[in-house]
């Protein structure tokens, strides 16, 4: 039987969750015996080259590109996992939720105390750029998500236990210390 295939992506996240995946240390050698990786920053494979069994996503959706990538993952992965607080509830980027986008952009590009000279009040508005959403969305408010691994970042042991349970079909028993929201 061929190995299960995993794809991963970081949307509106800080890559901390991916660092936490790497934090499984030498178990990474066991991991590559258990699974293959497809599209993922870990392999640097940019596009899906086949259907995957598990998609792991860090970060919420803050712009149109995030939504596109998320929908592609939902299409091409059998199981989708929200990894970390930002994927689950928007996380720190979602601190802007409740504040109108215009106010945020004004602060970032025109009025903020760290903004240099911008007399013409220019804001990035190239058609190449993804459009910022009205707020940062948790993944499951956009597509169906199958599993959630909380934490900021999720503990490496939690990621390891969850992935192993998923590919081996063993029951997942999570020790108390592993489920944390910070």
């Amino acid at each position: 039987m061929s190995k299960p295939i995993i794809a991963t992506a970081s949307l509106a996240g800080c890559f901390g969750c991916h660092m936490s995946i790497l934090d499984i240390d030498d178990r990474i050698l066991k991991l590559i015996e258990l699974v293959d990786f497809n599209k993922s920053p870990i392999t640097d494979i940019k596009e899906f080259s086949q259907r995957c069994n598990i998609g792991i996503i860090e970060g919420g959706c803050c712009n149109t590109e995030n939504v596109e990538v998320l929908k592609e993952f939902r299409d091409k992965c059998d199981i989708l996992i929200s990894l970390g607080e930002c994927a689950i509830m928007g996380g720190l980027p979602a601190l802007r939720n409740g504040i109108p986008v215009k106010e945020c952009l004004d602060e970032a590009y025109c009025d903020g105390i760290t903004v240099g000279e911008n007399k013409e009040k220019i804001m990035p508005n190239d058609e190449e750029l993804p459009i910022i959403l009205d707020k940062v969305y948790p993944l499951h408010e956009i597509v169906k998500v199958d599993y959630y691994l909380p934490g900021c970042p999720p503990r490496a042991d939690l990621i390891w236990e969850a992935v192993v349970a998923l590919v081996t079909g063993d029951e997942l028993k999570i020790p108390y210390e592993l489920v944390k929201f910070d």
């Binding site: 979602a94 601190l95 944390k180 910070d182």
Partner: protein, 234 residues
């Protein structure tokens, strides 16, 4: 006055004092019933409902129901556990709880209950209401995004004349916690600390301290909330 009575929780027999609240009687017997708004020996407000139990088959709040002889209390059933978990989830989506950036993280009772019930994601959509942070007091922040309306501060933090430092403003979905600016100006260090300690979440925080305890040494890092009560089980 202190008449002893017998009662059961989940079929186990216990003894308590007639008229004391079920939640306190349970704790004295080493049984943890979660609370957020309750504080022993302070007039209960019964506002958070996390202590919901069934008494003789009917839903009651354990922090407001006086103990009677022969009461049959259900607490750890699947149905009640799920209701409590749902309440925790509701509180999480109703406020803005960004735990990674919260000074109370690790010592927070709401978060502690999230851990105890292994909340992986709330079943309700996030509200993301915009709420303000009130920094007018020289001693404390009032972070309205995290208030769960337990009324502990209103009931307990008062001046010598019995005047509350805190009060609710508005009604319904606009309800918010506020503090008396004049009183708060002269708040002592001790009272500020007390207010922070009785607030079950990170809504009242002392200024100039924060993230003082390293991860791993905070209240709920290693042991679930309620462990202290349960470890006293006779």
């Amino acid at each position: 006055m202190s008449e002893k009575v017998k009662f059961t929780i989940d079929g186990k027999e216990f003894e308590g004092t007639k008229g004391q609240f079920i939640v306190d009687a349970a704790a004295e017997n080493g049984v943890y019933i979660p609370v957020l708004c309750h504080w022993k020996d302070v007039t209960p407000s019964g506002s958070c409902r996390i202590c919901s139990v069934k008494v003789n088959g009917r839903f009651m709040t354990a922090c407001t129901t006086p103990l009677e002889d022969g009461m049959e209390v259900e607490s750890e059933t699947e149905e009640i556990q799920d209701i409590r978990k749902a309440i925790v989830e509701m509180l999480f989506v109703e406020g803005n709880h960004f735990c990674p950036a919260c000074e109370k993280s690790g010592d927070c009772d709401l978060q502690g209950l999230g851990y105890r019930y292994q909340m992986m994601v709330p079943r309700f959509p996030y509200a993301f209401e915009r709420r303000e942070l009130d920094a007018a007091s020289p001693k404390i922040f009032l972070e309205k995004n995290r208030c769960i309306f337990c009324k502990r501060c209103i009931r307990m933090i008062k001046d010598e004349q019995g005047k509350s430092y805190f009060a609710f403003k508005y009604r319904g979905k606009d309800l918010e916690i506020s503090m008396d600016k004049e009183l708060a100006k002269n708040m002592s260090e001790e009272l500020a600390q007390e207010a922070m300690d009785i607030c079950p979440v990170g809504a009242i925080l002392r200024k100039e301290v924060g993230f003082a305890k390293p991860i791993g040494t905070r209240k709920y890092d290693k042991m679930p909330i309620g462990s202290d009560v349960e470890s006293s089980q006779k």
